[in-house]
Each structure stands twice: as C-alpha cells, then as structure tokens.
C-alpha cells in the first residue's frame, strides 16, 4: 500500500510541476495589473471558428478579437463598423464600402479580399453546413470585389435585414487563413479587434492588447475563465478572483450590491411567453379564453419579486431595441375579475383544464412558471404541466409537433434584434403552426419583403393591433442580462456584446 501511495505522490508532484509551469506561463500574461479576469458562462465549443456560432456564447468573447462589417448598438440601430457605408444597388445586390485604416493583428491589411474570402469560405466553402450559413446568412450567394475597399454582396432574394445580419460576420485574413486552414484558425484566430488571442486552452482564453487596432483597448489583456455554474461565478467575483462575472442570477443582485460590487443590468434580447396551440374543439379557439389568460397573470409582481427587477413586462412580440419596437404599446393589464368574466362569457363559468409543455432551465424559470400557474389557477384555468429537456422541446418547436394546449417559449431575438423572429414559429406557412392567423401572417410576410421603413412599421403596428384583441400567446416579460464587476469602469453592453475596447481598470480617484 505504501508503494501505491508513494507512486501516487510522485505522479502528483510531476503533474503539479507541469501544471505549475503552465501556471507560470499564464502568470506571465497576468502579471500586468491591468489584465482583466472574466468569469464567463461558457466558451464557444467551436473555439473561434467564425462559421460555427451566432449569438451566445460567441458574442461574449469574439468581439474582443474579431470585428464584423456592421454593429448593432444598444438601441438596435445598425451602425458602421468595418464597413463605413452601404447602399442597395438592386433589390438583391448591396455595395459595402470598407474602412481603410484597419489591419489584422498579424499585419495583413483588411480590405475587400478579406470579405470576399469570408463569403467564399464561411458561407460557400468549409462552413456551408455550419450555423452562420444555415441560420444567419442563408441568402448570400456571392461576393464581388469592386476595388480594394469596395465589395458587392449578392443575395438570392430581397433581404432587408442583410446589414444587420452582417453584424456577426467576420472577415478573414487571406494570407494567414490560407496558410493554416480553418482548423488551426479556430484555435489561433487572427482578427482586427482590440485584443490578440495568445492561448485558447480548455476552459480558458488569454488575450493581450492589440495596440495597432483601429479601436485600441485600455487594458493590457483579458483572461476569460469558463465557470458554468452561476453560483460559482458569483463566488468568483465576491472573492475578487475575477473582476467581471457574466450572466448572474437575479437573486444575486441585492447581495452583491451590499458587498459594493457594481451590477449592470442590460436589456437581453430574450422574451418569455407561452404560446397557445389552438386545435379544433379546444377551449383556446375562443378569443375570450386566450384574452382571459393574458389578464390573469400579474406580470408586474413576477418582474418585481421573482426577477428582482431584472426584466420588464412584455408589451409586444419584441424587446426594447428591436427594429419596429413600439414604446407606446401597453401590456394587457392584470385584472383577475375581468379574466373570470371573460371565461364566463366564453361559456366556461367553472373554468377550464389545459395541458402545457414546459421547458425549465434555471431556478428562476421554475419560480416564474409556478407563479404563472398559480395566477391562472386563481381565475379557474387549471394547467397540467409536462416538463421536458431542451433538446426534446427544441425538436418539437422546429417540427411544430405539439400535443398539448400551450408551450413555454423564451425567444432569443439576437443577433439581429428581429422583432418578427417569434412570428416565424406562428406563421400559417409553417406545417403544424400552433395557431394560424392568416391576416397576421400576411402582414408579417409582406413586411419581410418590404424595404421602406415607414411601411414596415405600419405593417407591424397592424399586426400588433390584431394580436392585442386576439392574442396568439401570453406575453410575460423581457429579460435582462446581469453583469457584476469590481475595480473596473466604463462597462458598455450593446445587444449582449460588451465593448471590451472601452473597459478599463478603475483608477483610485474615479468612481463608477
């Protein structure tokens, strides 16, 4: 036994020795006082393969070293980024003019060839079956270099959202990419952003500043550590091991504030709702029943008490900042008496029994749905719940394969902040649409083909009006992203993306 213990000790010391060498290497990057350590929920499983991801978790980290052609600001406006301006030359052809003062971090110039290569590789080449192609940019069919800083992009059909879609499309450095190929590029990416990836290890990414960037950073480096558990991220910032912790739970807000840790709540383009599945013979065929269920839920209380204020009551099928969002719209009021009256009018004085497919991921989800079910029960809508895991829920969503009367749906409107995204799952054009409203579907389909902004807004307003009197869903609340930080200042979050170039260590004299 003694030999077993001795052998284990020797092996451990050897391993620890190697590990401490690794630690030494890491320390070399961290010795600078102004390297920011970040507790990240998840690192992209595809590393920095620009074809593999859209939205989270890529948007948490990639904008530190990649730049896209366009950028969506906190108000949902698409603004110039690597492209300085764009014009539509035909209904399916766009011309983009590019910045002239940008270089990749390896010294290669950024120009139209970098964009052309990205189109040919990420969309039409090695990434043709990957996520960016299949879900973000399915319409692009070619790119043509006009001159060094001008490029034309052709789409298969009119696509008014193209400039927005390009906000997560990253040009490739031609010489380096051709030299290393996509596999090595994903582990050792080169971009035009404010930081340079030094090492991409399992569970950790170390970056150093790219002072030559067109948007140079204010700190020497970033150190992303993957910590999947929210409570462990919270403990990491409490203990001072990290200076910034992303995606914390609402229940942490008060505690962390008490400990002088700054909390930043930013609109997260997520909308929680429950979708009606209206079939022949279902009580949900009645407009009054659906309206009654909307009146039954005290959404203000949910936001105030269960989300600790980290959210706002939903008023429409979009979130603040999404294109076409109408701030004048009001939520359907909490009015249990009106709900009971509507049920009686619909011919259900003793209430109704329904079944619901429910996806629960976090404790907050569970608490919110428990409150919703209690409110509905209170007016006489008794719901039997069938919980399911994400994959099953998602397969049902994509196939429209719902057996019960309602399903929970938290729709993510990023990366495009496209207000009509949720409608995609409700349109009559889908097989097995949960609730087909031909008039609304027609309005949304027409809007998707329309370029004129005022006409787009008018069509959306008409759809919202229809929806308010004949609701296809129960809108609950918009979500907020909770970020905690200490000893830092100038944190700016736009549409989930942190402006890593602007973040800096707090000087002793300044206060956030």
């Amino acid at each position: 036994m003694r030999s077993v213990v001795m052998a284990s000790l020797v092996a451990l010391l050897l391993l620890a020795g190697c590990d401490s060498k690794l630690a030494d290497r890491q320390a070399s990057a961290q010795n600078h006082d102004d390297v920011i350590r970040i507790a990240s929920r998840r690192l992209p499983p595809g590393f920095a393969n620009p074809a593999a991801h859209t939205g989270q978790p890529a948007v948490d980290i990639w904008p530190a070293f990649f730049d896209a052609l366009t950028y969506i600001d906190a108000n949902g406006n698409v603004i110039p980024w690597l492209a300085t301006r764009w014009t539509q030359t035909t209904t399916t052809r766009w011309r983009f003019e590019l910045r002239r003062d940008v270089r990749f971090s390896n010294g290669e110039p950024f120009d139209a060839n970098a964009v052309e290569l990205a189109v040919n590789e990420i969309l039409l080449g090695y990434g043709a079956r990957d996520l960016v192609r299949t879900s973000l940019l399915p319409t692009i069919i070619s790119a043509e270099v006009i001159d060094s800083y001008t490029i034309d992009i052709e789409t298969a059909k009119p696509d008014p959202l193209l400039p927005k879609r390009l906000s997560q499309f990253y040009p490739l450095p031609p010489r380096y990419f051709r030299e290393v190929g996509p596999k090595t590029f994903a582990r050792k990416p080169i971009g035009t952003g404010p930081f340079i990836v030094e090492r991409w290890e399992a569970g950790r990414v170390l970056m150093r500043a790219n002072p030559q960037s067109w948007r140079p950073p204010a700190v020497a480096g970033l150190d992303f550590i993957e910590i999947p558990e929210p409570i462990a991220r919270r403990q990491a910032i409490e203990s001072g091991q990290v200076q910034l912790a992303m995606y914390l739970a609402p229940e942490d807000i008060a505690d962390l504030k008490e400990k002088q840790i700054t909390i930043r709540q930013a609109a997260e383009p997520r909308l929680r709702m429950m979708v009606f599945v209206v079939r022949e013979g279902s009580p949900l065929q009645s407009r009054q029943v659906r309206l009654a269920m909307n009146h039954a839920i005290d959404k203000d209380a949910i936001v105030k008490y269960l989300l600790s204020g980290a959210g706002v009551v939903a008023t429409q099928m979009g979130v603040r900042g999404s294109e076409g969002f109408d701030p004048s719209l009001k939520a359907i009021a909490y009015d249990p008496e009106r709900a009971r009256a509507l049920l009686r009018e619909a011919g259900y004085p003793n209430g109704i029994d329904l079944e619901m497919d429910l996806l629960v991921v976090t404790n907050t989800d569970r608490a919110v749905f428990e409150a919703i079910l209690a409110d509905l029960r209170d007016v006489g809508v008794r719901i039997t719940v069938h919980t399911m895991e994400f994959e099953r829920w998602r397969a049902k969503l994509l196939a429209g394969d719902w057996q019960h009367d309602l399903f929970s749906f938290t729709v993510a409107l990023d990366p495009l902040l496209d207000i009509t995204k949720a409608w995609q799952y409700l349109t009559c054009e889908r097989d097995n649409a949960p609730f087909c409203q031909p008039e609304v579907s027609e309005l949304i389909e027409t809007r998707a083909r329309t370029f004129d902004q005022s006409e787009r807004d008018r069509l959306l307003r008409l759809a919202h009006e229809k929806m308010t009197i004949d609701p296809p869903v129960i809108l609950v609340h918009e979500m907020e992203q909770i970020t905690a930080y200490r000893d830092l200042e100038n944190l700016q979050v736009d549409n989930l993306m942190i402006r890593w170039d602007q973040l800096r260590k707090r000087s002793s004299s300044s206060h956030d």
């Binding site: 391993l15 595809g46 397969a395």
Partner: protein
C-alpha cells in the same frame, strides 16, 4: 514471467472486449438522444438544410453501416472530428486528460491521506471511554453526516469558506497547486466517509483477532498493535473498495469540474452530450473507460503487493 505475460495478454483481451461493449452500447444510446442536425442547423427548419447536414455527417446512412464505419475507424483510433468545432475528437478528449488526471491524483492522495489515519483512529477508539471516546464518537457522527451531503453542496460550502470568506484558496481556474485544493477536497468529501467507516470497522475487528491479542501479550504498545498489525490487515479488506472508488471517481469529477470551472474531461463530456457531438462523446468515453480499466488493474496490483498469497490466477 510466462504467468505475467499470460496475465498481460488476458488484460489486453479484457480491455478490448470492454471497449467494444462500451462503445457499441454508447453508439446506439447517443443516437437515441436526438438529432444532431437540429442542433447544427440553428433556427433553420428547412428540410433541405437538415438533409444536407445529415448527409455530410453520414447520418443518412443505415444505422448498421454507420456502426460498422464507426467500429472500423475506432480500431484505427480515428473517432472522427467534432461536429461542432471541426477539431479532432480524440485529440480534444486527450487535451482534457491531463487536467482530469491531475485532479484525480490529487484527490486520491488526499483521500487516502485523510481516510487511512482517520479510519485507523476511529477503529482503535471505538470502545474507548473518556475524552478520546467522546471525540471518536463525535467524529463518527460527523462522518456519517458527511456521507449524506451531496458533492455539489460540499463544493459550494468550501468555496464560500475558503475562497470567499477567508480567501485562502482560489475557487476557479487551474493555476498550479493552490487551485487544486478545493476541487480535490470536494472529491475527497465525496469518497472519504465510506472508506473511513469501512476501515474503522475493519480495524476494530482486527484488534479483536488472535494476532492482535498475541502482540499485546508480547508487550507491544496499543499504537504499535494498531499500526503494525491491525491496519495492514484492515487495509487488505478495504483495497477492493479503494479500487472501486477510484473507478467511481468519474462521477465526482464531472460535478466538481463543472462547479470549479476545472477544464477537464468531465466538462467536455457534459458539453458534448448537450450538443449531441457524438464523436467527442465517444472519444471521452473511450479514454474514460481505458482509465477506469487501468484504475481497476492498479487496484488488483496493489492487492497482490499487499497480500502475496494472491497470484495472477
């Protein structure tokens, strides 16, 4: 020598059969988990896109053919590339092996270093009276309690005390030996109570045996009787348990790696299962199965070293 060679060959055959059985079972089980094309297609439900993804991954082929291709590639240690990252799947698993091994070894050393003396102490003082008896019974109660606390609760408590309040050890990352302490302690808390209690019973029983009575009659002190006579015999009985515990370490490691952000294979497995990244799941299981097999063989070897009466037969 011939006996050792035969033993080595039998071991190789056993490992091959074990891997074949595990990978076969896994191959069919992961395919019941869902359709990876739905994950890879994002929000697109276009049947043409889904069909193209399935075709490019070989998922449009009959299941028996997919299985035969998989087996043929596995024999050549080619488990394909990750469907999510495009990286070599086995290389991804092996990249995470080192941190997992580091953590596992640290936990084993801590586990044995804590459990053996504590088990011996509790066994030797089971029927003591006075202060030592009270301490022993209190410890026994605490260990019984600890056995019922789930690993993730222990982990969060350790982080709260050692990282947040006292700031002695880091709770995240893998920066050298200090960051090993809390994850290793968590795994120890998951394993130690059972071994301590088994050892305590074994030591208590051994102290009643004739050889212990004889040793005392010859004038040996009580610590000598415990350490030189009772403990080695008690350990013999517990070695099989230690071997099983080392094999079961995988369970504890998955939870621990997730909570402490330790970049090991457990985390990779969890992520890959969620993303239905079959090549990576299969690679991690291949590596883990081999490791568990090696741990069991090491336990067998240790038993033979401790008790020379046991031979390869």
């Amino acid at each position: 020598m011939t006996e050792m060679l035969r033993h080595a060959l039998r071991m190789l055959l056993n490992l091959s059969l074990l891997l074949l059985a595990t990978l076969t079972l896994l191959f069919f089980l992961v395919r019941l988990a869902g359709d990876p094309a739905l994950i890879l297609s994002g929000e697109s439900s276009d049947p043409a896109v889904l069909a193209e993804i399935r075709r490019s991954l070989g998922l449009d082929q009959p299941l028996y053919r997919q299985y035969l291709i998989f087996l043929w590639q596995a024999v050549q240690l080619d488990l394909g590339t990750s469907w999510v990252s495009g990286q070599d799947a086995l290389a991804l698993a092996l990249e995470r092996l080192w941190p997992t091994l580091t953590l596992a070894l640290a936990a084993i050393v801590l586990h044995l270093g804590l459990s053996i003396p504590l088990g011996a102490f509790l066994g030797a003082t089971r029927s003591s009276i006075g202060v030592i008896g009270k301490v022993s019974r209190s410890l026994d109660g605490l260990i019984l309690l600890a056995q019922g606390i789930p690993g993730y609760v222990v982990a969060l408590m350790l982080i709260q005390w050692f990282a947040v309040q006292w700031q002695i050890f880091p709770s995240t990352g893998s920066d050298g030996v200090a960051s090993l302490v809390l994850p290793a302690l968590t795994i120890t808390a998951f394993l130690a109570p059972k071994l301590i209690r088994v050892l305590a019973v074994n030591v208590g029983d051994a102290l009643q045996d004739d050889y212990a009575v004889m040793a005392r009659a010859q004038g040996a002190s009580e610590p000598t009787v415990v350490l030189r006579h009772a403990l080695p015999n008690a350990l013999l009985g517990a070695t099989a348990l230690i071997g099983t515990q080392i094999a079961n370490l995988v369970n504890g490691i998955i939870i621990t790696e997730t909570i402490f952000g330790w970049p090991g294979m457990g985390r990779l497995l969890l992520d890959s299962v969620l993303l239905l990244d079959f090549p990576v799941v299969q690679s991690v299981v291949l590596v883990t199965t081999t490791l568990v097999f090696a741990a069991n063989q090491a336990a067998d070897w240790a038993i033979r070293r401790i008790d020379p009466r046991i031979r390869y037969s």
